[in-house]
Symmetry: D2
Subunit: 450 residues, 4 copies
């Protein structure tokens, strides 16, 4: 079951996939290994993946459930008939938002699949995010082919460049129309996917035949209805290095405290997962679980106790944790009423040191923020693999005439998810779910700070 989206909410979603029109062109893919059965591996449009793969309580009850159509996603994959004629198809790719491991893998695999398997040779990379589509920014377009992208997956970042922020949908659709783009792949996070949806609405309003395919890029892994996004595993894997450094620093000093801030503005997946993967962490703070600093069950008394009994402590804090504390703590404002410390890591460092000093507990707090080192890294092998297969499905989706969707993953199967439903909320760590339960067991931290 997906974390953070209740079955009830999903039940009210419309998971139908919009299409530009009937797919009548024979797919050029030759994907069967049997000469007499070439289409055995094509996926029919009505293949679906169940939302909930578990059975609860008495199975008979379920069998008698009135619901005749269980909640499910359309399955991604190559279609026997496609919508666009490859020889006449022109494709655009744009990367938006912050860096994330794997963007270049995604660009590479899109180009390779379009070029070698669908025979699409006109592929254009827009530079520096959505700004690359509008004339005001004046950015050149980068033509993409196998020679250009061959080795880019060895490097982090994006060869197209990126930028944050939306652009006027009308102006962007003007550009797509002017250039004769058939499919636009938008690689980006929450904001980008919303932007993609607005582009798709404008296209739909004009009755243009342009497919918009979202490839979700969120290092925080917080896109709802999607189990895993690329770059997430690389991110928490590299975060381990920072945790080990924090542990070494903490253990190397009297009452040493090592504190690592990890990405996670709204969702604590990276922090929680990294702490499970490197069990030297003694405490994880995430946005989904509130905490207090002082008071009998507060963080600082717990920390003090740990320092005096065990000698050192390692804390991992997601960047979005404790935002309520920062806003309510008078000391976090300066004389003019401006927030003095926006960074929860620096805030915690400040408050912990202050309290321990006031109690005359000698200590040494080292604060590590590895964010840029993480987001700029190349994808690790498993993320590379994931990007490669994700992209095949994104190309299949675009060529088959799907639009206004993103390519997701559910129960290890790639899916088509309507952009509107995917961006209608955010995936969060469930404080009662298995992930957080495992974190509590592994760290031994209190189940509640209040």
């Amino acid at each position: 079951m997906g974390e953070g989206v209740g079955v009830e909410r999903v039940r009210n979603m419309d998971l139908t996939i919009p299409r530009l029109g009937p797919a009548k062109v024979h797919s050029p893919l030759r994907i069967s290994t049997e000469a007499d059965d070439h289409d055995s591996s094509f996926v029919p449009d009505d293949d679906r993946v169940l939302y909930d793969a578990t059975l609860r309580g008495c199975q008979k009850c379920r069998a008698e459930e009135p619901e005749s159509l269980p909640l499910s996603f359309e399955r991604a994959g190559p279609r026997k008939f496609i919508y666009f004629d490859p020889s006449k198809t022109r494709v655009g790719i744009v990367t938006c938002g912050g860096l994330c491991p794997g963007i270049n893998n995604v660009i590479r695999a899109l180009v390779m699949e379009l070029h070698y398997h669908y025979g699409v040779s006109r592929i254009h990379g827009f530079r520096f995010g959505f700004a690359g589509l509008v004339p005001e920014a004046g950015h050149d377009v980068l033509d993409l082919d196998p020679v250009v992208v061959k080795d880019i997956h060895h490097d982090g970042g994006t060869i197209l460049g990126s930028s944050r922020g939306p652009q006027d949908p009308e102006s962007m659709v003007d550009a797509l129309d002017r250039m004769g783009i058939s499919i636009l792949f938008t690689i980006g996070g929450d904001g980008t996917l919303r932007g993609a949806q607005r582009i798709q609405e404008e296209i739909s309003k004009r009755g243009l035949k342009i497919s918009i395919i979202g490839i979700p890029k969120t290092i925080d892994n917080d896109v709802q209805l999607v189990k895993k996004t690329f770059g997430f595993e690389t991110a928490f894997s590299i975060a381990i290095d920072a945790i080990r450094a924090a542990h070494v620093e903490a253990a190397g000093a009297l009452h040493g405290i090592g504190m690592v801030k990890l990405m996670g503005r709204h969702s604590g997946y990276i922090a929680a997962t990294a702490a499970l993967a490197e069990p030297d962490v003694n405490c994880v703070l995430i946005p989904e679980v509130p905490f207090s600093l002082k008071g009998k069950k507060g963080l600082i008394p717990w920390l003090k106790d740990r320092l005096l009994t065990r000698g050192h402590a390692v804390i991992v804090v997601a960047e979005g944790a404790g935002q309520d504390l920062l806003l309510s703590d008078k000391e976090s404002f300066d004389a003019s009423g401006n927030v003095r410390l926006e960074d929860v890591g620096l805030y915690l460092k400040d408050r912990i040191s202050q309290v321990l000093k006031s109690q005359q507990i000698e200590h040494s707090l080292k604060y590590i923020d590895p964010s840029y080192l993480i987001r700029s890294a190349p994808a690790n092998p498993n993320d590379s693999l994931f990007c490669a297969t994700l992209d095949l499905n994104a190309v299949h989706a675009g060529m088959s005439g799907c639009t206004g969707i993103l390519v997701g993953l559910w129960h290890n199967v790639f899916t088509h998810v309507p952009l509107g439903e995917a961006t209608s909320g955010r995936k969060l760590v469930d404080p009662k779910g298995e992930l957080w339960r495992s974190v509590l067991e592994t760290t031994g931290q209190p189940t509640s700070w209040t």
Copy 2:
């Protein structure tokens, strides 16, 4: 759907989980974050995970299907009531077979969970595989506690030592009975799991109350009914280094050929997956897909063509690929009829060089076998994470009185799988499935060699 096991075969399996007796002891776990709802996260025994999470064709048809009880696995997880009284429980751990990344993580997490969360303090590690249980070998037992295992996950291998081969089940059960073991965790592959099953049968025959919990360890990822086993991801990730080396060697010489042999005696998962993750591979050979060397569609003519047009080639071969060729090729026998080359990599190297030389094609073939470097590595962060959560579930299973099972993973949910059914066959790469289709698309190799 799992690769390599047809729905029909699974339909005939008995996926019921044997138990030593009714679970009446309150679980000592405190796993809820809500004071008034302590057991919200315990998993009831009748929670299950669907075997097939996809819907095919018309959904209505499915609704009308006569099958009232869909195929499913029992879900793993902490039970509210457990069978063994922690204060009186004695646990054994044994590691068997070849090395695999993550064994020490598994040992560590078992000890930590038993010690800290269930309060079981008597944990014994048997040395050097099943041999450690029988008196003949004379191996000491290693007592395990948090201090001993704290840092072992940073190292590859197994602190317990391992060995191959079975031992007499009666003698092993004698030892378990003599020592008063309540739960035996056996960490090992196919052979070990069969051995565990024989131990369980002997226990059952004697009516002893000893739980046998298998933790599947197969670097090849070939245990059926289990989506993923620990160490597999680390393995194909490290294999990437060898592929890159092979590519550098191939590209640095005139008509350079880089060939990497990877693990995979019966199943080509490591080879196929590594090739997807590092797309410099031009050809993957796995046991599931036969190939010929010569003839119009044979490997060597294809290779020759690639060398002359592209200058170099990278080949990945699973150790179990082409075994039929070795056996049928007269030249692979020496004068006395003994197999001259058992290693498919050396065999291919030999044959390819011979043919290219005979055709006077200057070339340079570098053969890399990174097997020991791979299997002895420490687990990567994602495998560490996997081991950590897998183990929690193994302990829950053992404490709840399950026996004769292994802990598996299905649709990202941990499951209980009867040892007998899991070892009744082997998971294979489906030559018509999505994984192999992606390999064919990425490498551009022929779909068939005959």
Copy 3:
């Protein structure tokens, strides 16, 4: 020739090595490979290493030079006769100051050499720096033997713990005397070596027979009369990761600037060396070379020019660079006259952004401070090798009765250097020397900023 110490200054130094007394005990080392020539590898006390290994101008002139005794260091190495009787020797080890890769390697190799080759079995580790010697701190002593230290070189940090700051020499010598310590190895930087010297002076005053051997630990590589200190290579090697991240971030944004702050309070070796090893750096700022921010030849105009012509820039700044600017820049003080930004990286980030904004140049500046990740890392293989051989020589020095020295490296030969002379100044990057010349050539940055 050593950077930063003129021949003239060295000429006035006294490089004679103090000894506790005549060495009369036969060395237990069996170091020859020839049965009949056991002592072929022992180093006589009067072996020396030339300070200057180059010849300048006409060689004849040199031959006629009046100086009959060229400047030189005493050579380290095993002595045939030693001062301490191993069976009666008790050794102390203390680690002080900030973390540095390789401390555990040093501890390990000291223990191994003392134990296995000299037969010294009483080795004590003082906890948390010099504080571990004085009774007030109340720290236990950690007994060290091969079992304890066997695997510690795989981890960063120090198993002994560390702390900054001096302690009263009298109190520390009381402790050494009370415990019957014969040799104290002090592993630390500038401050620690001065502290060691003060201990040695107190010992000398009291006429005690305790040898004080310094093992220079400075990640900045700034100990004069010593070519290289352990951890330095690991440090600049890991710094490369941050530089690559900065480059990826810079290249991935319009007018992207990646800025990395590296260690180097007084000496810019890490910054200069890392920039040579990873030539994506466009500008290096070190304490030894002053720079201005504005003005025709200032940093910001140069940066602006580079952004507009090349699109992005990577800057590496040593933590001690530009301290004069921070002190003289009014804007770096807040209303109360307190320094607002002590960190040169944050200061530069602030000022650059302000100026570019005021000139309406869209840009993106990412600032990376990898210091704790670097200093807590385990030693890389070459540093491990260096620690291993350095330590052999430290033990030889201590056992032979040398005192008040550190073990250095000069022209690839290990040397004995009096603590007083080594701490009388600091090694600096010579702005006219070969290292800086290479940095200027590689980065293409201006030779002067004023």
Copy 4:
């Protein structure tokens, strides 16, 4: 002092550097940081580096030594006047022999220095070694400029390709003359340097003005008169991974033996150095130190003793060790008298297993040969740094009109060494020197096997 070359032998060498003619062109380098003192950093032709930087015995004796001109090398570095006019200079680069980490760094830095600092823009890369110079092979030339080489240092191997074996010097000089090459940089090992010397002799015979500059590439670090060659450190650093794998395999089995074969056909530097850097090694076998298998002091009895007392053993063997054993051991020949096992690692594996089996000692021997993984790796940061500075000096040498030399390193200073003298012998590990003494101390292996 350099290992393996006695002072006496060097005394008879002619270390004078040949030059094409007087250098009259002003160097375009602007290398001073002081406006009024531009040439302070140029190196005069008569700057030299002492061969022996140590003083032995009584210093006065040395002062009275009759030798007025101590043995020394010409110092490398930028000259104020150069021989070639950059605007009319055409440069060739060729890479020969086996792969070695850092070749691409060398190519990159040559191009960057020539292009940006000397203003030489016509730089040609010959493909696939010396074969690329002769018309018969028909290889195209690859034009090199900063855009082509910018990122190649991130990859192992050589973008030019390589091949083994000599070509006819006359034919090669014809090619150089025809193309108007002024300077040829030959990157290669022993054979290549000899080839370069033959080219230089042919050039000299014809009175051509072509400079031949050797850049020594030997992963074995066995070029005499040169302290360190590029790639060596990366090589032994990566070898550590194999040693750790061998140790994990050995420790994970009853009487486990891990054996690693490392490069080193004539010189055991990689094996010796790697064993010092990773002290889990129990025995190192190198070509310079003979060993016997059987007999009281033989390898196998020692190994058996270690297995029975310590449980496992790790052996590192250089590829050139024990060649005499292979040749004299009858069992290493097959029935027809052909050598059955040319590989010392396979030979040892075979013999050890045979003897232990015959003595009924259960054991497990894992043999690892990481050679291709090592030689194809990219240079580590310290080797990158080394390549960068080495290359600056190679370019300075070529532009100044030196010829028939290689660029070496001695006492951390770059030098010019005549090709003839450098290739007149080979640098070997001195069995009585400090390196081997440290290996013996660290491993605890016998000082002699006979």
